[in-house]
């Protein structure tokens, strides 16, 4: 019981006058990878925003480490690293400068060695490390943002479409990275459109449609979820 890290309890969220999430329930345990799947506008990003304290729940609760997010937003933010959907960092700064800046926002100081190691881990090419990011491709920006999230060394990762923009090799590497982080105890909530990748790495997959959970899949003993099943369910239930 006590190892539940992320929990949605009858969570409903409005954006303006429109209900975007209605009565969502799920649990993610320590060291689990939880993947949220769903069509465009289903409410996946909104779910992450709510857990980050960027949006207030209309009713129900978003709970992290047993505490309602909105009762102590600052403590939640110190335990969660976030990879936004369209990860944009400062174009006039290099990857290293950007990472230094964002880490210092979180009150973290890393040596440039450690930063370079993290950038290597997401295989951002060496010659780009000291280039201003306005000259980065989408995938390079994505890699930098992932490196930033890793460097925060938080117990929880919220990743919004982490593989978007990544080439196939980088996606494979990323999936391995996620698996090893989870094995080391990091709890990961991931929004993705990559059904295949999700089935590879996730311990649990939830299908979201128009703000409601319409399906949930658990990994078998082999640690995998059957891609075909999820695909079929997605086509049948989640496509908007």
């Amino acid at each position: 019981m006590s190892n539940i890290v992320v929990e949605a309890r009858n969570l409903s969220v409005m954006r303006g006058q429109t209900p975007v999430l209605s009565d969502i329930n799920f649990e993610v345990r320590k060291g689990e990878v939880f993947a949220l799947l769903g069509g465009n506008g289903a409410g996946k990003s909104t779910t992450l925003h709510t857990f980050l304290g960027l949006l207030p729940p209309q009713s129900g609760e978003a709970i992290l480490f047993g505490k309602a997010v909105h009762s102590d937003v600052a403590s939640v933010r110190s335990k969660v690293a976030y990879l936004p959907e369209a990860a944009t960092l400062y174009g006039h700064l290099t990857a290293i400068e950007n990472i230094e800046y964002f880490l210092s926002l979180a009150g973290i100081k890393k040596s440039s060695n450690e930063i370079v190691q993290a950038l290597d881990r997401v295989s951002l090419q060496k010659e780009a490390h000291n280039q201003n990011m306005e000259r980065y491709s989408k995938g390079m920006r994505q890699k930098t943002a992932i490196a930033l999230a890793l460097l925060r060394e938080t117990p929880v990762l919220f990743l919004d479409e982490p593989t978007s923009g990544l080439d196939p090799v980088a996606i494979d590497e990323f999936n391995q990275l996620i698996t090893s982080l989870a094995a080391a105890g990091t709890t990961i909530v991931m929004v993705t459109h990559d059904v295949y990748g999700a089935c590879q790495v996730a311990h649990r997959i939830a299908l979201l449609r128009r703000g409601a959970l319409v399906g949930s899949f658990e990994a078998d003993e082999g640690g995998k979820i059957d891609t075909e099943t999820v695909h079929a369910a997605f086509a049948e239930r989640a496509a908007s």
Partner: protein, 421 residues
Amino acid sequence: MSMFSSFTRELRFFLKQPAAIVLVLVAISLSVFSVWSGLSEVERQQETIERLLVADAKDRAAVLAKESDYGGAAYYSFHLTYDPPSRLAFAALGERDTSPWKHRIRMLALEAQIYESDTANAELAQSGQFDFAFVLSILMPVFLIILLHDLRASERAAGRHDLLVATSASDNNLWRSRAFVRVILLSIGVLIPFLFGAMVSGASLLSIVSVLGIAIAQILFWSFLCLWASARSYAGPTIASGLLAVWMLTTFVVPAMSDAFIEAIIPAPEGGDIILTQRESVNDAWDLPKEATMETFVKEHPEWAEYAEINRPFEWKWYYAFQQVGDQSVADMSEKRRAAILKRDKAAQWFAFLSPSSLTERSLTGVAGTDAKAAMHYQQHVRNFHGSLREYYYPLLFKGAAYEAITLANLPRFKALSDRK
């Protein structure tokens, strides 16, 4: 996280933003230029005074050497009166720009001499000088608006807002320290040239501290307004337009409307009318029976009653008596004008609370002694000096003393209200 570390973080961040740096540099240059132009204007005024003082003494000596009676001496000798610029005048030229701070007067009817160079409605006119007061009261809000309006909106537009907020331990702290760095750098940049100017001109510590206090109040007002606006979830240009609208309204529209309103409800006789009325009185005197003039004169100055008889076709005492009667004829108008100007000034002070820029400008000219009150004070000082000329000459003229050049050394000398305040 400590305030200091957020400050140094945001300072380093700021120093990598060319656009913001350029804006601060522009503000610094404008402040430097305003201080320089204020200092050189003050220097020009001082040089003018010094030059005129030398010429004034020389002219009078030359005139007096030629004259052989008191009437002629009084008629031909001019006296320089002036109000030297205060040590802070460079920062806020105020009324010195629009109303006269020097006159050359002689013992003729005075009011026309005072108003000759003062026909404009100077008491409410906005200063046209590019001085430090202009930078602080008019331009500073614009710099603050440009630097602060899109603190959040620009990050939202760039898609970084959520990451910034989710990453920082306290996002309020983030926005505050970003704003703080910008406001501090801008303020230091704008205020240091002023401090330099104040040092050069030898302003007192108290007056410098007063100006800093006024500056801080103005900066804080606009900073908080901009911060409040920047926290709204509108797009950057929308927020900027809103703030600029407030700036234009309070800086230009409100003062213009309140000035028009004040002028309408507190009428003041025009300086030009005072001049005309007095000239008429003086000109008419030539055609009037001399007894009539002397009677009017004696009514106000009974001490000369026993000397008021005029026997010859031209006598200086009659001449100066009708000059003074000219002053008497507009004394009421002039008094009304002075009272109205002070009343308008008081009303403008109240209206200034609707306009931070006016309030700043007025406070600065108040500290610098360049406001309407100071101008009125100087004008009154000129009247007093002119009065002392009459006090000096009248006994000599009316009692018909024999001309003795030597007594002119005792002529009243104009002393400025203060050498430099």
